[in-house]
Subunit: 156 residues, 2 copies
């Protein structure tokens, strides 16, 4: 299942390249659904990857410029930062990680428990879901979306 | 990874229930992106699950009424049929299935080779991607979409 991170990073990178050819206002403009813009949806994907990875580690990492992100280039830097963190983490996983129980504290102080496998499954499916939203917006502005078809991709 | 089929089937069932509360024309109306309507996007998800499962078996199954599908109820019957086929198939998989090489013949007669693991990964991510599209359309008609968040779901 962890190879699906690689699939997601490849699709994400293709969307970044796709955004480069977009008139800048289309990147920022408010839309219906998702996180309301291409910019915010891509940023949200990264926020969630980082949030969940941080739930799995003792030494949490912070992207110092997180509150200052507005431009595509800055979001790409954020992606490089988050991806590098996730890559390092999954490369050193022990073979029996799947059923490890992770405690996650909610804002109200209560604790939820998830298996490490479930957290990874959520991180992966969360990104694919939001990328599906970008594909509708692409068609709305008469642009061909990035193909998400995993079967045509080489990523292992 | 195979547990993600269960996640998808649960989300799909929730979308079917969501569609029941929708004015019928909203189910059929042509939209931008995806497979151009809620009806056709749900049908496409099922077509693809069946197509890829059939690439893995000697005795292919056919849903006799496939060409006659127009109504939500009929698509739900198609989903029950496809899900049952997939469930039976994944329940009897040998433990070493992942790297089995599957030959898939394209329309032009050429043969592509994929691991069985890759085909399953494609089937799963394909559905999540298209469900993301439905969520944008839901907001376009001022309806709250089904949550796709895996972390809040219990499916194992």
């Amino acid at each position: 299942m962890l190879s699906l991170f690689k699939y997601n990073w490849q699709v994400r990178e293709d969307w970044f390249t796709w955004c480069e050819s977009l008139p800048e206002e289309e990147f920022h403009i408010e839309r219906v659904g998702g996180m309301k813009s291409i910019r915010e949806t891509l940023t949200h994907i990264l926020d969630c990857e980082l949030l969940w990875l941080n739930s799995l580690v003792d030494e949490k990492v912070v992207f110092e410029r997180r509150q200052l992100l507005t431009q595509l280039n800055e979001i790409k830097e954020y992606s490089t930062f988050v991806q590098s963190f996730t890559e390092q983490f999954i490369e050193q996983l022990p073979s029996d990680y799947e059923n490890n129980i992770i405690e996650v504290q909610r804002r109200d102080g209560s604790i939820l428990e998830f298996t490490q496998k479930k957290i990874f499954a959520h991180m992966i499916t969360h990104e694919i879901h939001h990328i599906g939203q970008l594909s509708v917006w692409a068609r709305e502005i008469q642009r061909k979306p990035i193909s998400s078809d995993l079967i045509i991709r080489i990523f292992e």
